[in-house]
Subunit: 445 residues, 2 copies
Amino acid sequence: MADWQEITGGVTAPKGYRAAGITAGLKPSGLPDLALIVSDVEAIAAGVFTTSQVKAACVDYCRQRLQAKPSARAILCNAGQANAATGSQGVRDANESAELLAKELNISPELILLASTGVIGQRIKMDALRSGIPKLVDSLSETGSDAAAGAIITTDLVTKSIALETTIGDRPVRIGGIAKGSGMIHPNMATMLAFVTCDAAVSPHLWQQMLSRAADKSFNSITVDGDTSTNDSLIALANGQSRTPAITEMGAESEKLEAMLTAVCQHLAKAIARDGEGATCLVEVQVTGTHDDLAARQIAKTIAGSSLVKSAIFGRDPNWGRIAAAAGRAGVPFEQENLQIKLGDFLLLENGQPLQFDRAAASTYLKQAATDYPVVDVVATNNSNDLSGDVQGQAAARLRSNIKTQRLDNPVIIAVSVGNGHGTGKAWGCDLSYDYVKINAEYTT
Amino acid sequence: MADWQEITGGVTAPKGYRAAGITAGLKPSGLPDLALIVSDVEAIAAGVFTTSQVKAACVDYCRQRLQAKPSARAILCNAGQANAATGSQGVRDANESAELLAKELNISPELILLASTGVIGQRIKMDALRSGIPKLVDSLSETGSDAAAGAIITTDLVTKSIALETTIGDRPVRIGGIAKGSGMIHPNMATMLAFVTCDAAVSPHLWQQMLSRAADKSFNSITVDGDTSTNDSLIALANGQSRTPAITEMGAESEKLEAMLTAVCQHLAKAIARDGEGATCLVEVQVTGTHDDLAARQIAKTIAGSSLVKSAIFGRDPNWGRIAAAAGRAGVPFEQENLQIKLGDFLLLENGQPLQFDRAAASTYLKQAATDYPVVDVVATNNSNDLSGDVQGQAAARLRSNIKTQRLDNPVIIAVSVGNGHGTGKAWGCDLSYDYVKINAEYTT
């Protein structure tokens, strides 16, 4: 099916990109906390940002930059402080960050985009940033993607990275991406950062359209706990260094590029959902039979976001009643006589009525989806007076060594049909475990 | 302020009502499971029901009955089986239930309303119901409210009951109510049943309007886990037995009656929120400064429903960042510079920026709200293969004896202002604890 292949290299897989990730001392833990992606030449830039009324300074900054001119040379990301709810001082800090980096890279500050993640209400530690930026620029490398991916995470247990390659006009074109997530992941761009690089040449308007549609089918279709953050940002650069002809209108080539962009975003989105706080498995909800795709996605997201469904999956309980109830309240009209629910290969409900099924086998099906991650005690001690917001980061770091690979190929699949319409949609989420509560009860502002 | 006083008697406090609750053998546990409320004379009847596309047979039944004629003599409620997703057989069972009771009461089946709560996908145990109904009618009593309140609960740890009295034209008028909740409690009529009786005389249209508005300010303003059920029903009778003049149009008297009706509904709604599965405290969110009341309630509900806010409260963490983030994503535009957040008497955020506050004292404030309920191990054993759905009911029953009274007078109060508008709104919820996950991971379909 897919017209591309996976390659290594993350955001530095496409031509003409370098990246870096260092420890600048923003996180008290001494873990990497400052990341940079640089394009050798000015790249077309597009972005999708949080819809929250409470936005971090970097979000307003990027929106203004991209509105003025949709291009960039660099993305700077700090972890540790969110620089949200920090008022005019936060805005000044964001501007200064861009100016410092611009000077070091010897480019215009207008070509720099910013992202922050960490504790809301805390300013960026500017002293650490000031001394970190020269070191960061010195570390830039054509194999620096993993270092950058490791410096943007907070409570994530694994780094998230992908790169795909296809051909356009017989020449290779690549898209790479890195992301961070964990907690507060919800439709409408949740607490997540994702940075995508591409070496195709594409017109700014088309690139933004592609990215917005890809975001709807990926990051806006995942949910961990229904909360949306102040800092969510998806930024995508396209620098044309593949030397393929510029894509300036819709057609076979733009569709090919958009499909690969969507695949990159979906991989990162699923990785974020799988790594939701306390999650033990990835859940994929597939909905068919609605009037249009939007309605199908709406039902899928409601099911994936239901605390009762998520708790049941954690309990390995094939609880079709909760799935039916979630589908019913999604705000999409359907006849309950047409409702069908499958869990993996198990048909649980047909014509709106429950069927006999092998409950033990269905429970085993749910169990097999949670074979990669250990269920772990993320919080070693109750540090509710620790203001650093870094307790989880430290605990997460201790755990990372236990996790070999994040498997995304064995999700729990819930397939729901609500009628004969042609609409289809998918959403991804995770289960709700004791550890979710533990992590979030003890993580301090 | 309030123009009424609390009295005893629940739904049998108003004149001309009797009630009963018995063990009919619907629940395998042998706990009470069949309840009945009867008005001596034909009463005006109004109802508000689940908006889910997947509805129990009793919900369709009541909607049709009330559409045909807004009056009733009796409300029959069974606990144990939800009779939802049971197809045409479920409809036949509902009709038969009404006919059986009508015969026993010697009235028309058209004057009977029905409600069910329990496991989705299970039919009512009709044999038990058939033999239970004569016994139920024999048990009817003018002091039967508590018995009825005890027979409609499932995982609830306490019964919910209230009665208020005021005067209209120098004569006493009373409104009583009982309710059940716990789990799946959310705006748009969540898994909850509430039955209200009143002895005023009021026109059907006005009574329905009053009830709909009262529901918006009470049951539709609470959230436990964001899930909405197939069976949610609020039914209110007004039988005129107070012999006060009929209220047929808006005015001082209708306002007085509506205010008391709203107070009854709010009491029951708060009791349901406080008793949310695994909850250790009641949370009240007060929002001001919006353009209108609807917007304020929308923000309040979003904050009260945020898993991150709820986890923080369980962790006794004065986490204003999560409150700000939830307010920001509620879908109501505001300037973040105008955002103010108070937790009890502690001002945490002003002009969109965090203030210094006594974190230890604020945490102590959160702790004092959880002094009545024990934090308990609700699920004694993992009975995930128990199909009765009654495991929780048994565990809950064991616990009820430990809980003296449910205090609703010491909620955690979160007060949020977003501007200078005149809109105000409240919502109620509870915290998110380990026990919520435990209960819902192990409760079987």
